[in-house]
Symmetry: C2
Subunit: 124 residues, 2 copies
């Protein structure tokens, strides 16, 4: 039995919340052992907990807000669009990727692939 | 060299338009030879042009409108959310999946996976 739809949607909401306002350790704790991260799609796949922690660690010092826009679950996989707004001085940088994730039976993330490119960044 | 971002976005827009208002043959023509379709994710993967044509053929007799909501391209892959509204008598059935596609160098679709589940159908 895979994780329930509700559990997967909870993990997605936690991910979106914690990417903006949690510590990198909080985000990494959502991942299962052996998980992989490819962000953006086409970049080198991160396969160790250390390299995943390093990836999210880059966000720790930023002032960010986030919002889940649209989530779709199919079995133990899901895709969702979310918006991440970073404030730096008077500027705001808005990126709204679509992430695809797979989940284990406990609702932990076993893989994440993020679809976006530089053209999608909106500077305001 | 892969297809350009612009070519991929054009294919996605054509797909969304043709799923609603084109013939199944029009939709199938967007696919490369050897393409695969998994709709919804977790269902049996269609691997022949005949089985893909059969899948879209089921939509041919329906009165539908569609709208692209959000598309993200990463290299030769993309994810996008779109809305498909089907009218049947006085009822409307709205489904907004997130599709993930890969593309060949000409911008033809080489694979499609659609994320949605029955709970996402809105009846109005």
């Amino acid at each position: 039995m895979g994780a329930s739809r509700e559990t997967i949607l909870e993990t997605i909401q936690s991910y979106v919340d914690l990417v903006a306002t949690g510590s990198s350790a909080d985000v990494v704790a959502l991942y299962a052992d052996g998980a992989t991260v490819e962000d953006p799609v086409g970049s080198e796949v991160r396969t160790t907990r250390e390299s995943i922690a390093e990836f999210y660690g880059a966000l720790d010092s930023l002032e960010q807000t986030s919002k889940l826009l649209h989530a779709r679950v199919s079995g133990n996989e899901a895709a969702f669009a979310f918006e991440l707004v970073t404030k730096a001085g008077d500027a705001t940088y808005t990126l709204a990727p679509i992430d695809v994730m797979t989940f284990d039976d406990d609702g932990k993330i076993t893989s994440m692939r993020a679809f976006w490119s530089g053209e999608d960044m909106v500077v305001g």
